[in-house]
Subunit: 232 residues, 2 copies
């Protein structure tokens, strides 16, 4: 909520808040009032009926969803992207958006056939990051890979079958990590349409990492490489 | 289940399996029979009553819980450990155990006042890793830090207030990452009892990463440093 007020106040249509929460959250309720957002005082009972959260926080907002387009993202000359294909778990999608934000990625791309980014569980697990970086949804996977490569962005399929690891591949040039579904991974056609297949190194006996962790490790490997190259 | 049969068959007391699942999971049901584990054929209805999983997989096992002790772990001259203090979310604990396994950590240490490691949600989210590396539970935080330091293991408090990042601190020597609670982080006394306070670098606008992601990034940073030092 605070992140929406800070980063996307123009998208907030209404902010609902209990009297108690208006005090507790004055740091963003007051700026929201100042920004001309319509702030409604309400009660815990009304909020509980409005929201599906198990422990409502005394505040809720109606926010316009402003999906970015791939063209808009490519126009910014992005250097680090992630494309999630057929991600199904809302917690995973939200956590990846949060991790991509933390790693300094330029945008998160989400394929068609994925969980709805606007579902409450996704929004909550982004911890505000959904308001920090562009999220493009409903993308056709193969067309997207074609567009990325045409824009000079290497496509790296993250997959346990990769011959090189995140520590061996060159991560300095602009690239996009391409991640598969939680259960079945990447479709073979998607993997083959990528420039490289790269695996997260597994040092113990685990078979794999979960999607959100694997994505975050890939993105942090990229951030480290790109930033250490930039600072010499 | 397969991981329990592979890595800890002596701890399995009984294995329950439907006729259909006995075929589907022959890769571990047959070895379990060979290992002398008592395999009971049962039905989906009985399994549903035995388990709390929403989508039972046709098999369940009763496994002895064999917690390790800190002394046993220290006797192996560990080089990479993680100490979770007051971790409350079962998914987080399980995911950290899985990430620690993947990163090649020597053990996972869990403080008193944390979620029960044997709870089904924890076990499931480890994806078998709970059978791959020692997990020590119920530890008193300050005594544990004292024991670790006496054993020559540096204690690194992972905290956003850290002056240096995971990429700046020396991670080659034996060390333990000390992680705080999901909501309130590390207690000040714990932070002060550590040798260094280290933060995961945040490049975007996110305030933080969630506990499981932060821990996994810390452990992978350590694995990279230790392994590249070992190979020259």
């Amino acid at each position: 909520m605070r992140e929406a007020v800070r980063f996307a106040p123009e998208r907030i249509r209404d902010l609902y808040v209990t009297a108690e929460a208006a005090d507790r959250y004055a740091e963003f309720v007051d700026p929201a009032r100042d920004a001309g957002v319509f702030v409604h005082e309400t009660t815990d009972e009304v909020l509980a009926a409005m929201c599906d959260a198990e422990t409502p926080q005394g505040t809720a907002a109606v926010v316009d969803w402003a999906p970015a387009t791939l063209e808009e993202v490519l126009a910014t000359a992005p250097r680090l992207l992630v494309l999630l294909t057929h991600v199904r778990d809302p917690g995973n999608l939200g956590t990846v958006i949060r991790g991509a934000d933390a790693a300094g990625a330029d945008a998160v791309l989400v394929s068609e056939g994925s969980v709805d980014v606007t579902s409450p569980k996704v929004i909550r697990s982004t911890a505000g990051s959904v308001f920090h970086l562009p999220v493009v949804t409903g993308l056709a996977v193969e067309e997207t890979l074609t567009s990325l490569r045409a824009a000079g962005i290497r496509c790296l399929a993250a997959d346990g079958v990769g011959e090189c690891t995140t520590e061996e591949v060159d991560l300095v040039e602009a690239h996009a990590w391409v991640m598969g579904n939680e259960a079945w991974g990447l479709e073979p056609a998607t993997r083959e349409a990528c420039d490289d297949v790269v695996r997260v190194p597994i040092h113990g006996h685990a078979e794999s990492l979960n999607l959100a962790m694997a994505t975050t490790i890939c993105l942090y490997s990229s951030a480290r490489s790109q930033r250490s190259a930039a600072t010499g």
